[in-house]
């Protein structure tokens, strides 16, 4: 790890302003992703701004009937909140399918959204990786790509976004609240937070420099059966090969987002109208234009079969 100075911010606006005043700064929340990457010299900040004390650790009801989740709410607390368990079961299920009890106790809402890819070549600093070192190439495309992306990928990068929580938030139409160093705030639909890799896979989100996430807002609950189905190589404490987050109404209509297939949680709203026609039709629309590698083409079949299982489970519930 490189040496760094360490500062505790007392308010969100102060954190953003401080971050902008020093070069190479990062916010540290739980630290479970940032420190992992700093130990490997993949992240090399010279200033850390600790945001754990900025007072964003509550879940509050919004006037519209939704919930506003503070950026520092821990994954464990979010999954255990009675309102989340009752009205946003998909989110609780996605959180509980991720990481381990120890990690969820520390991992925060914003940190989880902004965790970086688990592409093995991104982690191995001896390998070419356009995300870690722009212009160096991509060792994954012709390498071990079994876990990597199949849609929305580019010739520069085929990495996936590893978060389970973000898949649920995408299906729930969440909004991300932020504050910039100049004190201005804005709301970003979760759909627009993460970018596709394109020619610049090193630029992962639409956040501007030193913009701090302050909260994630969930709209009014929409009912339905909430299912998060994660398929992985071991039954716990492993990242998804693929995952399906679904909210299905009794008439067979609903919403679906996928994890483990793209650089962002993957949802195609226009595909959802074919849901009542079954998993095959839905998969064809959701993954139209997919360009898998030889090693991860199995994910197309896996998505279809998992969708079929999820839809069958929803029918049993209805």
């Amino acid at each position: 790890m490189r040496p760094f100075t360490y500062l505790r911010a007392k308010s969100p606006a102060e954190a953003a302003a401080l971050a902008a005043q020093v070069s190479d700064s990062r916010f540290i929340a739980g630290g479970t992703n940032l420190l992992d990457l700093m130990k490997l010299d993949i992240e090399t900040p010279t200033h850390l701004i600790d945001v754990n004390g900025v007072g964003l650790d509550r879940i509050e009801a919004t006037p519209e009937g939704g919930l506003r989740i503070g950026a520092l709410v821990r994954n464990t607390d979010l999954a255990a909140d009675s309102r989340i368990r009752k009205d946003y079961g998909l989110l609780a299920r996605a959180l509980l399918a991720g990481a381990s009890g120890q990690l969820r106790n520390v991992a925060t809402t914003a940190g989880n959204l902004l965790q970086r890819t688990r592409c093995p070549y991104f982690y191995d600093t001896h390998q070419a990786c356009n995300k870690r070192q722009p212009g160096s190439g991509c060792a994954a495309i012709d390498g071990f790509s079994r876990q990597l992306g199949i849609i929305g990928v580019s010739t520069a990068c085929i990495a996936t976004h590893p978060s389970d929580m973000a898949v649920a938030m995408r299906a729930l139409d969440a909004l991300v609240e932020t504050v910039k160093p100049d004190g201005t705030t804005r709301n970003i639909p979760l759909a627009e937070l993460h970018r596709l890799p394109g020619a610049t896979p090193n630029i992962e989100t639409t956040l501007t420099a030193h913009e701090l996430i302050t909260a994630v807002t969930l709209p009014t609950p929409i009912g339905g059966t909430h299912i998060y189905q994660k398929v992985r190589d071991r039954s716990s404490y492993a990242f998804a090969l693929i995952s399906v987050g679904a909210i299905i109404q009794n008439d067979g209509s609903g919403r679906v987002a996928l994890g483990g297939v793209a650089h962002k949680p993957w949802r195609v709203e226009s595909a959802e109208s074919v849901m009542p026609q079954g998993a095959k039709a839905l998969t064809e629309q959701l993954l139209a234009g997919a360009t898998p590698t030889h090693q991860n083409a199995f994910k197309l079949t896996l998505v279809e079969r998992t969708l079929a299982a999820v839809m069958a489970q929803a029918r049993e519930h209805a």
Binding site: P3, F4, L7, L18, Q21, G30, A79, G101, Q102
Partner: protein, 207 residues
Amino acid sequence: MTISRRTFLIVGAVTAASVALPPFISVQASIANAARPIKASVTIWVNDEPRDLDLDTRTTLLDALRENLQLTGTKKGCDHGQCGACTVIANGRRINSCLTLAVMHEGSKITTIEGLGTPQQLHPMQAAFIKHDGYQCGYCTPGQICSAVAVLGEIRDGIPSHASPSLTEPPKLIASEIQERMSGNLCRCGAYSNIIEAINEAAEASA
């Protein structure tokens, strides 16, 4: 010393700043940053005693416990959150001490395996691990025991898990729940079945 681009940027930013930088982040410190360790002090309550530490900001809680405080019961397996050997209880919650910085724990109350019990007065979970032979080499054991103690608390507090059939009913103290919740603690010796038996017995005794 040559003036780096980084130094220049900091000087430029500070003059334009609207929020004053705390005095200890001087431009000088930022220059030194490139090469030399930066120290900070922190007071952490470890096993009910306040411990004042003056350490490199890079020190993880795990290294502070092992290297600065010589509490070597807590083990370093992977150093990347992947094995659970470094599990300690911080403010009542189990965490991986390898993925958190010591300086982030000002005023935290940390319990390590040394604080759970002593050879003369074992914690019931420690006694159960011994009775059921919940280990072979023992390297993962302090983490397993700290994790297991916290798991029983999590079930008691009604925190759901991936193995809970219902999100709205309280989770039950059953093997499937314990197994899922213990998945963050790997055992290279594969003592899992005895570990589960030990936790089951401690759970029944505490129920």
